[in-house]
Amino acid sequence: MAFNYEYYLRMDKMPHMWCPGCGIGIVVKAMLRAIDKMGWSKDDVAVVSGIGCTSRTPGYVDFNTLHTTHGRALTFATGLKLARPDKHVIVISGDGDAAAIGGNHFLHACRRNIDLTLIVVNNYIYGMTGGQASPTTPFGARASTAPYGAVDSPLDISRVAIAAGASYVARGTVAQGFMLEKFIYNGFKHKGFAVIEAMSTCPIQYGRRNKLSDPVQLLKWVKEHGVPAKKAEKMSPEELEGKFITGELHNQERVEYTEEYELVRQRAQEAAGAR
């Protein structure tokens, strides 16, 4: 039955600014449904973003919302979470926001395994600023700053997240909204840093430059380029070239930062008391 998005939206700000057929809205919906499933009070949730099309999300959703500077959302979120470890802090970032300018904060949030959920809306392009190449732009694809095709290889955000220590990592696509919702939900439930990479679509800035300007066609492209983890295991690197693996890629119990810091407080207070 129809989901009550209105309850979670700032209806006076709607319709949102995203272009016709833009995948961001699909991710935001999955996020709202997952929040609803968690049964969290809206007052206990913060949604934090950097700058970009994706990062306009905070303006539309009715939580404690924080629209920070480009690439820095995780740093603000870390402060929020440490100040109130009992609350739920969600970060939503574009691929440029999270993995270009924000790459370092991403790395260290993973390492700290701090109990935040990061949703990366990966549309392999800088949407907001007009279609410049992002660190996830496919090799050879066109962008306004890659008129002869992208020279550098795309970053595998989920893979780096795992290597850096994130304890829950999953990748879905906007063509599979239910799956996305499930991953985000599992990310919320997970204690530790959770990364959900949502392969998305930017028909305007990416699509138009790469003969995929029709939202439907682009959505299909995304779906076709995703390979479920199980299936990927049986494929050769050549077959996987240019594809991305979807599914719950990593799920581990690991020391979480705010919990561990609580132990530091205890140790410190004992030490102080002892003196």
Partner: protein, 83 residues
């Protein structure tokens, strides 16, 4: 017992009213995603020059709807609801 259970299920299904699909016109940007994704061709795109991309979605075959929710889940604009 097995029979009864089945009967109950059938009964429940019957209780459920026919699907109702609501399109929020002011939100719809005419991207065509819902039209394409609907497995039973419930929706159609209607040209409308006053709208975003010159078109808006309309529900043409509500009776065919299976309530699979695919359209609702994938509409990027919060513009379609299936009850």
């Amino acid at each position: 017992m097995a029979e009864t259970a089945t009967a109950e299920k059938v009964a429940k299904k019957k209780e459920k009213p026919a699907p109702r699909i609501e399109v929020i016109d002011e939100f719809c940007k005419g991207c065509n995603i819902c039209v394409d994704i609907c497995p039973t061709n419930v929706l159609e795109m209607k040209p409308d020059p006053t709208r975003w991309v010159g078109a808006v979605v309309v529900v043409t075959r509500p009776e065919a709807c299976t309530r699979c929710m695919l359209c609702e889940i994938h509409c990027p604009d919060f513009a379609i609801k299936v009850y």
